[in-house]
């Protein structure tokens, strides 16, 4: 299924490919329309409003070659790709990209698979996208993950050397993910912990990330040859520049101080804010609060009543306890108001007592002293000077 006819000649464009597949013009336009639905804000594609415009761009683009490697992974990031409809996985791998190596999806196995990998690398040197799923162990020369008998570290080094860019999909590939959780017995790290040769790396953390994060990057590259703007952690800004908290549907509950106290209590059942149950939304950069999963609205952790655990963030996921409250970064006013006058200042009863005692003592002592002074001027022994 993945052997391309074009491997013999010049690479065909997507348009030509679709024609060869027997896709009608109408179906093609519909396909392009759905691409624009898939592409999140910020992509080059969405600046074009009409399906015809998109079609013009897409038709001229070549299907990029994609090599997908699995390392210490759970295959969740591949699984997440199965749950897309715009485009669905079949359309993606048949019409938009040329998925030349993918252990879960390809038919080949064993020596055939190895040959496929080598062929793809050689034919598309400098042009293919390497997608890495899963963390890479470094302990003991990387023996804890091997592909065809070779340590993952080496495989990654070889395959990335000829790639145009590397996409690290999932938290494991972005920064180590679950395998890197304390005590990290295999010294698992993400792709940027291994590669340091300046190859463009795009991290798409998440456990799993929303599939449209990957699709957006791939589509942009496929149609314009450019990669999206990245933040300091090499994450595409269109998907990771916002905190969950800032776009959470339950934010009004947070501002009004309505919190679920325990799973299943009345607040929880009413969909109140999950901050007190340990939701890491206020410190997590991801788009899940607006782009939900499985293409069903409200199918995302907070939507179903489970606090966000910060799966995209290196310092929280698999490190911070699930129910530990995170510090609010951008502190804003609540739904309540200060009254015109607030009672302030505290009168300490102890101090009042002390003052009373001292005052009383001074007055009493002064009076006693005055009594001793009397009208007679006698010298007498010295008395305690109780007042100046």
């Amino acid at each position: 299924m993945l052997w391309n006819a074009e491997s013999a000649g010049r690479p065909e464009t997507i348009g030509e490919h679709l024609v060869r597949c027997g896709l009608s013009r109408r179906a093609f336009l519909s396909f392009c329309m759905r691409l624009s639905v898939a592409a999140p804000a910020g992509l080059a594609l969405t600046s074009r409003a009409r399906a015809a415009d998109i079609a013009r761009v897409v038709a001229k683009a070549r299907r990029p070659s994609v090599i997908w490697l699995h390392f210490q992974d759970c295959t969740g990031c591949t699984e997440t790709l199965l749950r897309t409809a715009n485009p669905d996985l079949a359309e993606l791998i048949l019409h938009l990209i040329s998925l030349d190596y993918h252990e879960t999806l390809m038919a080949a196995a064993g020596k055939d698979a190895e040959a496929a990998l080598n062929a793809a690398m050689m034919e598309n040197t400098g042009r293919y996208i390497l997608v890495v799923e899963g963390a890479i162990p470094r302990k003991a020369n990387g023996i804890y993950m091997k592909l065809a008998g070779r340590p993952a570290v080496d495989v990654l080094g070889d395959v990335s050397a000829r790639a145009a860019a590397v996409i690290a999909i999932g938290s494991c590939a972005s920064w180590g993910g679950i395998p890197s959780a304390d005590p990290n017995p295999t010294d698992a790290v993400g792709v940027d912990g291994i590669l340091s040769d300046g190859k463009p790396i795009i991290n798409i953390p998440g456990c799993p990330p929303n599939p449209y994060n990957l699709l957006g990057v791939v589509l942009q590259y496929a149609t314009s040859g450019k990669l999206p703007a990245l933040d300091a952690l090499k994450r595409p800004k269109f998907a990771y520049d916002r905190l969950i908290h800032d776009h959470c549907p339950r934010r009004a509950h947070f501002d009004a101080g309505r919190f679920a106290g325990a799973f299943g209590d009345s607040g929880h059942r009413q969909g109140w804010c999950l901050y007190k149950l340990g939701c890491k939304g206020p410190a997590t950069h991801a788009g899940c609060s607006t782009r939900h999963f499985n293409e069903v609205p409200d199918v995302w952790p907070i939507g179903i009543g489970a606090p966000c655990f910060g799966c995209t963030e290196r310092d929280m996921a698999f490190r911070m306890p699930y129910f530990q409250q995170v510090k609010i970064r951008d502190v804003t006013p609540p739904d309540t108001y200060a009254p015109i006058y607030t009672q302030q200042g505290h009168i300490s009863p102890v101090a009042t007592g002390v003052a009373g005692l001292i005052g009383g003592a001074l007055l009493g002592a002064g009076y006693m002293a005055s009594k001793r002074l009397g009208p007679r001027d006698d010298g007498g022994a010295g008395t305690k000077p109780t007042k100046e």
């Binding site: 502190v331 804003t332 108001y337």
Partner: protein, 300 residues
């Protein structure tokens, strides 16, 4: 030294009479109507337009690089109960039992003749460009006299700091110098608080009162109170209920100015008094220095 009843009576009548005279005579320094500077800026806050979103509080904290005060909220929110060492601007809510309510924005009023600038020893608080009452911590010893005298209780102190400063709204004077608006005015979504020339905004306030008479309490608060302020208020409830007291038109420093002018008039009386006292001392020179028997001592 005894004093006869007659003498006592004389003393009391004399003192009482002097008091009467002083009270009856109008102060020489009549408070001239305070005129705003030609470049005076102002803020106009219309409580009927305020929706209590508190974006102005967030913007103020950001523009002034202030940590939000969590108040009662244990780190969850920015929830100060009042102006304080971390809060230069606050939205408060007034609610009547029947349900009527109004928001009110409180910050420095930038009075035309402020009490605080009259009080401050080295002029750390000063009324300067555009009539902004600004604060210079390098001249402030933290005596808090300004807080004692401000009729609106605006200057707040950083009680928890080991190098505490006075904290109050300064109209975002750095932003003004760059031609920008103060943080609160820039961000207000309904235009409840707007910024501009004092004369323009005063006119605008009166225009609103005339154009919508049923909507407002028929008064621009700050037009005459304590001699006038550069923050003007319009509201639909009594200003007193919003914590804006019904002050008269005399600027706060008037009384002190009278005292000072009458007593100190260019330092002439003190110097004259000193000359007199020095003469007295020279006459009793030996008594002063304690050298010999007091020759000028008189027996009663």
């Amino acid at each position: 030294m005894g004093i006869s009843r007659r003498d006592a009576l004389k003393v009391m009548v004399g003192a009482g009479g002097a008091t009467l005279a002083a009270a009856a005579t109008p102060g020489q320094a009549n408070a001239a109507a305070v005129v705003a500077r030609p470049d005076a800026v102002a803020m106009l806050y219309d409580a009927t337009r305020c929706i209590g979103c508190k974006a102005c509080m967030v913007a103020c904290s950001k523009a002034n690089h202030l940590e939000p005060d969590p108040g009662w909220s244990q780190g969850l929110y920015q929830a100060p109960a009042d102006l304080n060492g971390k809060t230069k601007n606050i939205i408060k809510l007034y609610q009547e039992p029947g349900g009527a309510y109004s928001f009110v924005k409180r910050q420095c009023m930038h009075c035309l003749d402020p009490a605080c600038t009259s009080a401050c020893m080295l002029g750390a608080l000063k009324k300067g460009d555009r009539g902004v009452v600004s604060y210079n911590p390098d001249l402030c010893i933290g005596c808090r006299y300004c807080t004692m005298v401000c009729p609106f209780n605006v200057p707040r102190f950083e009680w928890d700091s080991l190098a505490p400063k006075i904290v109050k709204c300064e109209f975002c004077k750095e932003r003004l110098a760059e031609g920008k608006l103060p943080g609160c005015c820039e961000v207000c979504p309904t235009g409840a608080v707007i910024f501009g020339k004092y004369t323009d905004l005063l006119a605008e306030a009166h225009w609103r009162l005339d154009a919508h008479p049923g909507r407002y309490v028929p008064k621009v608060y700050g037009e005459s109170e304590v001699g006038g302020t550069q923050v003007l208020y319009l509201a639909h409830v009594d200003f007193a209920k919003l914590g804006l007291p019904a002050y008269g038109p005399d600027p706060v420093p008037t009384a002190v100015r009278e005292v000072f002018q009458e007593i100190y008039q260019g330092l002439v009386p003190p110097i004259a008094l000193y000359a007199l006292l020095a003469a007295v001392m020279m006459r009793s020179r030996r008594l002063v220095t304690g050298e010999g028997p007091e020759q000028e001592a008189e027996e009663p």
